[in-house]
Subunit: 552 residues, 2 copies
């Protein structure tokens, strides 16, 4: 039996395009005499469809897509993900299903049982969990067809009371096929490999695993679909960050005896793996966002600092240098080197740089507000005014020429609220909002791996917002080395103040930082979507109340 | 047996304050020789605590609060909501629990079984559903203790496969006590009454129902706790929109024979009920937001239009006229009447109005951008620039003087994207973002019920953004009468295009509007939190992808 895995970049709600991609892959598979071609979880509608699932019209279009795909199933079988209607009166109205299509008909529908509802996931919002399971007999093989999370409950502290494979295994399947929509984080590839290999060993079965690729707003899918033998050895792994299509012979996979190359423990992620991976993910994230919204061109403010430098380099890689416009908007507080650094960066990337001085608008603003402010001192207000003038100038260019404004805030500043709402927090997409400041530096080093793209001076100087004379980030914030470590403990590891202090950090500092994080929830509520590269990003995966008074 | 219901306004994560309120109520109950005092769902930490539930430190503080409350339970029993740790290895780590405290100890913990995970709810994100149930014997009565949604599964098309009361009823309880955190919408009071009365009739048991009151950011809780007899008759209903404390004699309630005053069908909500209710809810929402964040003063732009007029009136009611600052920011496109109307409104409300002309900043901006825009025509860009100058001037006042900026966008314009991101969409809180334009007019009429507060001229004139000469909303949008009806079908009723067209609306118009709604998701992603008064508000209760291509 020849099995094809089609790893595709779907577009939520774009039924026509998704269907066309699926049909093209079926044709390709037919030409190669494939017996069974496999598509990802909720492939027909894209993942995550979110509340579109509550619209009957949307569900009908999913159903129509399935019908249309079934038409192609002559001489070939197809596995494809789609919502399906729960025929029972009780429970939610939908299942998250894997359709097995054969002879132009729906042969079997297998429903997802374990519905992830943590971090970025909301599946229990829409779907009823399956409680019964069956295998599928096809071409002499018995297939256990599961969906993503169904295989994910192999921990010592299981999140779900049941594991579907523990039940399905009684039917003695020959293989597991798992269709997934498993979002990327920099540590996800190893976790995914561990989980799948553990399953293969536990059930002594080969696994054909198929994932999405491409981005859906902030959620990135890295692909990395794979085939694992019944010893937990990886037979093949598909491309990361791009569409792929590969054909496997089931017999060969069943007879394959490659052994796992490592023990299934948590792997220490090397920087040499982490940062190239984040880089590729962000490039794909920008590209998908623009493609799916039908935009080509980006604009961003280039300050001469490291954040905008990294975003500019990523944008050029994703969209092409001719599609990126960098804007320098110096004020009286900008250092000369900021301007020259930004210009040099633009030169290195062959990106045209525009110069829009903000002084005249700033002066009119101060004059206009003078009767209200009287002789009150220069403070955060005036700093914010500068940032907001820059924000609204960039938005003016965006409006006039149809660019998307790329936001350049990093995760550290978003965490502590070191940014101006409607100022430097503007934008259609936050590119590095899930990358801590210290990681931004490492990303910059990776960008410079072959030649100097980001000028050395940008890497070397002390971070500054340049909104008042001689300002340094370190005037308001602890060193990023310490700040980022404390933030990581609080955000990624969800440690409380006592636990973090017990790690050796100074109590006053820890409490101050945690308070900053919690009291700035209101700012993060209004940020652009943030490309998610860590296991815990700001945005849909981290939901905190604004009016809370906790550690604040 | 004397039962006290304590309907309180909790603050998420503010353990000290919540504990103090609970203890004060216990003291009061003791003084009245109450046997059992009842507090709401998750009272110790406030509702919804969201991802704070993922922090061990937060759960520990819940536990400590329970311990501290138990200390007070000498000669009195207490029912109080708190998360509790799931002792089983399998399943999620927490339960949403009702603690029964007696003799200074935890007597029983009852766990919630039905975990709402739709609209604004995310309970399955955190909690394991209970699968076993027990009653509590106290003072000769057998109590079925349930939590909110546990009673909500009485539909013909039940969302959950089980109903806990169907199991608990076998133990022959004498009464149901239900502790809840059931958010307000304008139709919620009748729905709540129906659901509870249906339960009372179905199980032939009296119900003591206790709800939260007050707002947690966008979520409003109206109170309306009540006691129902075993015939479904309402014995008593507690105050709406304010804290309350009442004592009931269980014997009297059991013997009470008041009959239900209506059949339990969907009630047509009269405008004379709906708009006072929305008004009270919004006033409470503003007040709670400011109180819980520790702010006193608000600023807002007063344009002479109806939206800002209504928000201004609501703000004055919520915060006091001395705490509200209205700012007029006319441009060359502002009509003279806009200014005079806004001034008259300010006078009627005794609110000081400031005048900040935007022309000088606008001119500098246009001049600054001239080299880039050359001779391109005036378009949306220049309209947005005016809105953004207003936005950043208001933010400057907010920053300088510590005001919260109130946003004045209505639901109709948020729906179709008729607003400027970082301009009129700025603010800390959106007051009427869940109120359609036609409803804003009705709210204005209600505000004017006793005397003219909002000048007649504001009510009478055609809506306009006044961002270009002689602009009217109707240049870009259909009449609000039609627009709002189509939006309601799409947003509240989740009808698809065909279903809406079948109601008699013109196809091109319907498709145009639905496309506007879907393509403007990116703007709504960055709006301030919106006080929720409808059954389907923009915000946490409506989750749509940004890059989707569906009906767009």
């Amino acid at each position: 039996m020849k099995i094809a895995l089609a790893q595709l970049n779907y577009h939520i709600g774009n039924f026509e395009q998704n269907l066309s991609k699926i049909k093209t892959a079926i044709s390709k598979a037919k030409a190669e005499e494939v017996d069974l071609v496999v598509f990802a979880e909720l492939a027909v509608c894209g993942y995550p469809p979110r509340d579109f699932l509550e619209f009957n019209d949307f569900i009908k279009q999913c159903k129509d897509s399935i019908k249309s795909i079934a038409e192609e199933c002559d001489g070939i079988a197809v596995i494809v993900g789609s919502p399906s209607i729960n025929p029972n009166l009780e429970g939610k109205n939908l299942y998250n299903s894997a359709y097995f299509l054969e002879n132009k008909k729906v042969h079997t529908i297998c429903n997802k049982s374990l519905l992830p509802n943590y971090d970025v996931f909301d599946e229990y919002r829409y779907f009823e969990p399956a409680v019964s399971f069956k295998t599928i007999d096809f071409k002499g093989y018995r297939i256990a067809l599961t969906i993503c999370e169904d295989l994910w409950n192999v921990d010592d502290d299981p999140m779900y009371p049941i594991s579907p494979m523990n039940i399905i295994i009684r039917e003695k399947p020959d293989m597991i096929i798992n269709i997934a929509a498993s979002p990327f984080s920099y540590s996800h590839p190893e976790e995914r490999e561990n989980v799948l290999c553990k399953n293969a060993v536990k059930y002594k079965l080969p696994i054909f695993y198929l994932n999405h690729v491409g981005a859906q707003t902030e959620l990135l899918f890295d692909g990395g679909s794979m085939v694992i033998n019944n010893k937990g050895g990886i037979v093949d792994e598909m491309n990361y960050f791009e569409e792929d299509f590969r054909i496997y012979d089931a017999k060969n996979v069943l007879e394959n005896s490659v052994l796992p190359t490592h023990e299934f423990n948590k792997i220490l992620l090397e920087d040499s793996v982490k940062f190239p991976r984040i880089y590729d993910a962000l490039v794909m994230g920008i590209r998908s966002y623009f493609n799916k919204l039908g935009f080509k061109k980006a604009v961003l403010g280039s300050s001469g600092g490291i954040d905008s430098a990294v975003v500019l380099a990523l944008a050029v890689e994703a969209l092409g240098k001719e599609n990126v416009r960098a804007v320098l908007m110096p004020s009286i507080f900008s250092s000369e080197t900021s301007v020259s650094d930004a210009l040099e960066l633009g030169k290195n990337l062959s990106v045209a740089c525009d110069f829009i001085p903000i002084n005249s608008i700033y002066d009119s603003t101060v004059k206009t507000l003078h009767p209200f402010f009287n002789n009150l001192n220069f403070d955060l207000t005036e700093e914010n005014i500068q940032a907001r003038i820059r924000g609204f100038l960039l938005m003016a260019l965006s409006n006039k020429f149809g660019y998307i404004l790329l936001n350049t805030s990093n995760k550290s500043e978003l965490a502590v609220g070191y940014g101006t709402l409607y100022g430097d927090m503007c934008g259609g997409l936050s590119v590095i909002g899930d990358v801590y400041k210290t990681e931004v530096f490492q990303l910059a080093n990776y960008i410079n791996r072959n030649k100097e793209i980001i000028p050395q001076n940008i890497l070397a100087k002390d971070p500054s917002a340049e909104l008042r004379p001689d300002q340094k980030d370190s005037d308001s914030l602890p060193d990023y080395d310490i700040l980022d470590k404390i933030l990581f403990q609080y955000i990624e590891n969800r440690k409380g103040p006592k636990e973090i202090i017990a790690l050796g950090y100074e109590e006053t500092l820890v409490r101050k930082i945690l308070k900053m994080v919690n009291t700035n929830e209101y700012k993060r509520h209004q940020t652009p979507p943030i490309l998610r590269v860590s296991p815990k990003a700001f945005g849909t995966g981290r939901r905190l109340p604004i009016v809370a008074k906790y550690l604040s």
